[in-house]
């Protein structure tokens, strides 16, 4: 599989603050990636650099094997939809679509029109008069209908209700199946998209924290629940990333594979093993704690 994006020791520094600090990862063709992390972790900065809207201060970024800056070959294949995207206020919805049609080589007019209907957008309404959710829908429609080989969604759902969000996930998956491409989803609603994501990259405080297949990641942690003492006994010698106690009961989230031996041990101790959702795992890994390195 060829690499669509290759980020090597990418650094972006503002005066003395490092927004992105020596981050390296690569994005393979035809997969859906989740770029996750807390607010201000540096996700948007990384995506801005990939799409040549910001300049890096160190390292290297290659997109489709080339440097993206002023590179027609590369840029014409990228569609980057961000939450903060400003559309000219005097445009109508249909004007934005018209410009997108002129710019994105794979633009599908009919598909865009059907999406406008699905998302209930008034095509003749001016951008200035759209609600926050409608504005997000405009971005989403462009992201889908552009069918760009590299499509990046940066928190595209702001102001969208649950119905519209699930419409987004449905359409995304449908269209991705019919027209495979590389998609990067940056989101806080991890549970909602966890089924879509094939690979997860987590950025925390400008550094790469996790770069793992979603499947592998899911099996990497487990929560044990039971009497506090027993939980402690079970957890000793294991990497605990989260602890909670309610009265005499306690729970601990453990990192690392839980094999047959551990399962048996838990059973004899009277402990319950529960899977950890992707969201829980990432929340716990990115919550401020002094030590939280993952291999």
């Amino acid at each position: 599989m060829s690499k669509v994006v290759e980020v090597t020791r990418l650094t972006k520094a503002y005066k003395d603050v490092k927004a992105v600090d020596e981050v390296s990862f690569s994005i393979e063709e035809g997969k859906i990636y989740g770029l996750l992390g807390r607010n201000g972790a540096g996700k948007t900065t990384i995506m801005h650099i990939i799409s040549a809207q910001l300049f890096l201060t160190g390292g290297e970024v290659k997109v489709f094997g080339e440097t993206p800056f002023e590179n027609e070959q590369v840029l014409s294949q990228i569609c980057f939809i961000k939450e903060s995207q400003k559309f000219p206020e005097i445009y109508r919805v249909q004007d934005v679509m018209e410009v997108a049609a002129a710019l994105f080589p794979n633009w599908d007019r009919a598909y865009a029109a059907s999406l406008i209907k699905d998302f209930n957008l008034p095509p003749r309404r001016k951008i200035k008069k759209l609600s926050r959710g409608m504005l997000s829908s405009v971005g989403i429609i462009i992201g889908l209908a552009s069918r760009a080989p590299l499509t990046i969604f940066d928190e595209p759902y702001l102001g969208l209700d649950a119905v519209a969000r699930s419409l987004l996930y449905d359409r995304l998956l449908e269209d991705y199946t019919e027209h495979p491409r590389t998609i990067i989803l940056s989101t806080h609603l991890i549970d909602e998209v966890s089924k879509l994501l094939e690979h997860v990259i987590v950025i925390d405080q400008g550094k790469l924290l996790i770069d793992e297949e979603t499947e592998t990641l899911r099996g990497q942690a487990v929560t044990v629940v039971g009497p506090a003492l027993k939980v402690q006994e079970f957890a000793s010698g294991k990497k605990v990333i989260h602890r909670e106690a309610i009265g005499s009961l306690a729970s601990a989230t453990l990192l690392g594979n839980v094999g047959a031996f551990e399962r048996k041990q838990a059973q004899t101790l009277g402990l319950e093993l529960a899977p950890v959702s992707l969201q829980q795992l990432i929340v716990q890994l990115t919550t401020d704690k002094p030590e939280r390195k993952v291999a």
Binding site: H48, L54, E70, E72, I78, I90, Y91, E98, L103
Partner: protein
């Protein structure tokens, strides 16, 4: 090429942007013309009425340039348009609008001076002494290069703003204006003004706008250089 067309579309796709480039400036100019026409009917016809109302369209184009670029550049970057294509497309829009305006202004000047005997009221609005000297091509040239100069001045100011932000813009204008202020003070102190105006006076209006052309080119180059380094 595809993307270059996209930039043209970017500036002209909505009815409001078309109106902004071609509708509003003419509306402003015509309202100024109408007021002056009514005034000229009321005033003494022997003296004639000379007005500077024509300048409104030039001032407007300068503002339209600033608004147009500021509105579309972040959007263009967000839609993965190359900065170079944005610069070229925007420059072409500036040229086309300036050319169209220049031809229309010349036609109105022609109607005023040659066809209607100054609208029958001795109003000198489009055909002005000095500005309208020279042949048809030169008159169109005066409007065209004059307007183009203002458009690219707007372009370079906005590009500078996009590159360095508001504070940077203040500092840069300080740096640019300081030598001018010093020169002005020196010119007054040493009585250079007479010589300066004498020197300028030897040029026709067309000669003056030709002098502006290298400056316009400089703005264009600077805009391009700044945009290449500008971020969202």
């Amino acid at each position: 090429m595809n993307r270059f067309n996209g930039v043209l579309k970017l500036h002209t796709v909505s009815p409001d942007s078309k109106f902004g480039w071609m509708g509003l400036p003419w509306l402003i100019l015509f309202s100024s013309f109408l007021i002056n026409l009514i005034l000229s009917m009321l005033l003494n016809k022997d003296k004639g009425l000379y007005t500077g109302g024509l300048s409104s369209i030039f001032i407007y184009m300068f503002i339209a340039g600033i608004i147009g670029v500021n509105r579309t550049f972040p959007f263009a970057l967000g839609f993965s348009i190359r900065r170079t294509d944005y610069f070229l497309g925007t420059s072409v829009v500036f040229c086309l609008v300036s050319l169209l305006d220049a031809v229309l202004l010349y036609l109105l000047s022609f109607i005023e001076f040659n066809l209607t005997d100054n609208w029958g009221t001795q109003l000198h609005f489009f055909h002005l002494p000095y500005i309208s000297d020279g042949n048809a091509l030169e008159q169109v040239g005066v409007y065209f290069f004059g307007m183009l100069h203002l458009c690219f001045l707007a372009f370079v100011i906005t590009a500078l703003y996009r590159r360095v932000g508001m504070l940077g813009l203040y500092i840069a204008s300080g740096i640019i204006f300081a030598p001018f202020s010093i020169l002005t003070i020196l010119a007054t102190y040493y009585n250079w003004w007479g010589d300066i105006f004498n020197w300028l006076g030897q040029f026709s209006a067309f000669g003056i706008v030709l002098l502006l052309c290298p400056l316009t080119a400089l703005y264009a180059l600077a805009s391009y250089g700044l945009l290449r380094k500008a971020t969202v």
